[in-house]
């Protein structure tokens, strides 16, 4: 039996036993937006506040010591979850900030190199010249698109992108033309939050490496759902969020290659990221502190570490296998319904659990509303990936995403719900 013992797992998630809309059981199929949190994660956060709470890296009293140790142990545990060195993981408020941190490193290095302000050794790799190129893909979440558009608007660099094939895959044929000698950075998603597509990281990285570009991976939709190891991935930066992997809101992570992090100027500056400060000038601490200005979200780090423990106790390969089974079943069930079109790959190979679809003659928003009335929580809209909707010529989609607490009954309920929407709106 490859499925997880979902019934037992569900007991760890208090919210899953609540009812919605006139007493319907909640069927939560929106983990792609944010996951639910097990009791152990909530307990870890609360325990931090009730027994160790203090500002970390700032005091010598016992609480401050304990808080700092808890915070740094959390960092070590989270780093080891992806096979990384502890100090190569920077805490941010979410993945979006992590991606902006990298984009702003290019901006700040470029500006400081123009004005002659001091820069760390090696910062040259982040300096952009007019006409240098930044490459993304057409399947990026806005959080991995807009920061690069903004960087280009401010520096005169040029944004280029890899297109998509009709069946929802990255068009690898574009690699040769889009990535050029002027490409300074290639930033792309590991797994599309709308299409479900899992990209071939090695292929894209190889093309980027060939021209000496820095490689950034948006792992928001992969790290929560499959084993991810920095050693196996040939990339320079990995950004992801805590709240999509059973962790709390308000914390994200950036992993970076040590020598690159060390060569980056600061992004957000202020307390705790400095080495020395005078009124005239400041020097900065080594990473990760350099990028963690102000009192950090220590309680959230501790809770995210508990989420890592929870996932590791299950095993990430099992998580992936479980989701694969549900995805395969969902694709099969939805393909059988007349008038339903899946936006994204319809084979479950190299594919995560985001299943987006449109229903003939019913707006995705209305489909979602009928599902909601049945207790089924899905997401509707462009999923912060508007260019993907344009690419496949749909105004929006309805999207179901699965996680460890979902099972085949949820897939059945989804399919039945879609049929009910068709009846309700008299289409089909």
């Amino acid at each position: 039996m490859s499925l997880l013992d979902v019934a037992t797992l569900r007991k760890d998630f208090p919210i899953l036993s609540r009812s919605v809309r006139d007493g319907k059981n909640l069927i939560y199929l929106d983990s792609g937006a944010t996951s639910q949190k097990p009791t152990s994660v909530l307990d870890a956060e609360r325990n931090f506040y009730e027994t160790h709470n203090a500002a970390v890296h700032r005091g010598a009293h016992q609480l401050a010591e304990e808080a700092t140790i808890a915070f740094e142990n959390a960092r070590a545990n989270i780093a080891s979850f992806i096979g990384a060195q502890t100090n190569d993981v920077v805490f941010t408020k979410n993945a979006t900030e992590a991606l902006n941190l990298v984009a702003y490193s290019f901006l700040n290095a470029t500006l400081k190199s123009l004005t002659g302000a001091p820069l760390p050794a090696g910062a040259q790799r982040f300096v952009l010249a007019q006409g240098d190129e930044v490459v993304v893909t057409e399947m990026e979440h806005h959080s991995n698109l807009v920061p690069w558009q903004e960087l280009c608007a401010k520096t005169g660099a040029v944004l280029k992108w890899l297109g998509l094939t009709d069946d929802g895959r990255l068009n690898y044929a574009d690699l040769d033309t889009v990535i050029t000698a002027r490409t300074k950075v290639v930033s792309f998603t590991h797994q599309s939050n709308l299409l479900g597509t899992i990209n071939d990281v090695a292929k894209v990285s190889a093309a980027a490496r060939a021209v000496g570009a820095i490689v950034v991976l948006d792992a928001c939709q992969s790290i929560p759902h499959m084993p991810v190891s920095v050693e196996k991935l040939d990339v320079d930066f990995i950004a992801w969020s805590g709240h999509k992997m059973l962790g709390p809101m308000g914390i994200g992570c950036l992993w970076g290659r040590n020598e690159l992090l060390a060569s980056m100027p600061p992004f957000i500056s202020g307390g705790s990221m400095i080495e020395t400060v005078t009124m005239e000038a400041s020097t900065f601490a080594a990473p990760p502190q350099r990028f963690e200005a102000g009192v950090p979200m220590a309680a959230q780090a501790v809770a995210l570490s508990a989420a890592v423990d929870y996932l590791q106790a299950i095993g990430m390969d099992k998580v992936a296998a479980h989701e694969h089974e549900l995805t395969t079943a969902a694709i099969a069930a939805l393909s059988e319904i007349k008038g339903v079109r899946i936006i994204g790959p319809t084979d479950s190979h190299d594919r995560g659990s985001a299943v987006s679809f449109v229903v003939d003659d019913i707006h995705p928003h209305d489909v979602g509303q009928v599902l909601d009335s049945l207790g089924i929580a899905v997401r509707v809209g462009h999923h912060c990936a508007w260019p993907v909707c344009r690419r496949y010529d749909v105004p929006a989609t309805t999207r179901a995403t699965f996680y460890i607490y979902n099972d085949l009954n949820d897939v059945k309920a989804l399919a039945a719900g879609i049929k009910q929407a068709q009846e309700f709106f008299g289409s089909n």
Binding site: R21, D22, H363, P364, H365, D366, Q369, V370, S373, V380, G381, H382, W386, C389, P395, A396, F424, F425
Partner: protein, 153 residues
């Protein structure tokens, strides 16, 4: 079932057979409004009535969910060839009704009173308001234009 209170027959009728959809060629003001969370969009044009230039002809093109489309169709019924004052009163009442601070008033909203069921779904309220906010924006622009033209005389 709550759902049927939102998707009343009359709403679905407007959705399936929208009134007045299609853009007029000439116009005094055009606006394009979007609902950033879901991607619903409307392009709405306002043309001052050649006979009484305080009255405003409406045309629009849009895409979106049943609520946003039905609401535009209802807007056309209610506000086409009406004054700014009449329209603003209707918009204000629609907002108040959706916030449940006023009881539906058919004299003001016509079929729009059927939108009352939307008030149960806060995330859908902006679908119902999209066309109306666009209209208000365009109407003010269309009239403002003239004011400034007159000022130049």
């Amino acid at each position: 079932m709550q759902l049927e209170q939102m998707y009343q027959e009359i709403i679905l009728d407007h959705y399936k057979r929208p009134h007045g959809k299609g853009l007029a060629e000439s116009f005094n003001a055009e606006v394009h409004h979007v609902n950033p969370t879901c991607g619903d969009e409307i392009t709405l044009r306002v043309t001052r009535d050649p006979v009484d230039d305080q009255k405003l002809l409406v045309s629009y093109d849009n895409q979106g969910c049943s609520i946003s489309q039905a609401s535009a169709s209802i807007l056309f019924d209610q506000l086409n060839d009406q004054t700014l004052a009449t329209g603003e009163q209707a918009v204000d009442h629609l907002v108040a009704m959706l916030q449940r601070v006023e009881e539906p008033n058919e004299d003001v909203l016509g079929d729009g009173i059927a939108l009352v069921g939307v008030s149960q779904y806060p995330a859908r309220v902006k679908c119902a308001l999209l066309a109306w906010m666009a209209w208000k924006d365009a109407a003010i622009q269309a009239l403002g234009q003239e004011v400034s033209t007159e000022g130049e005389k």
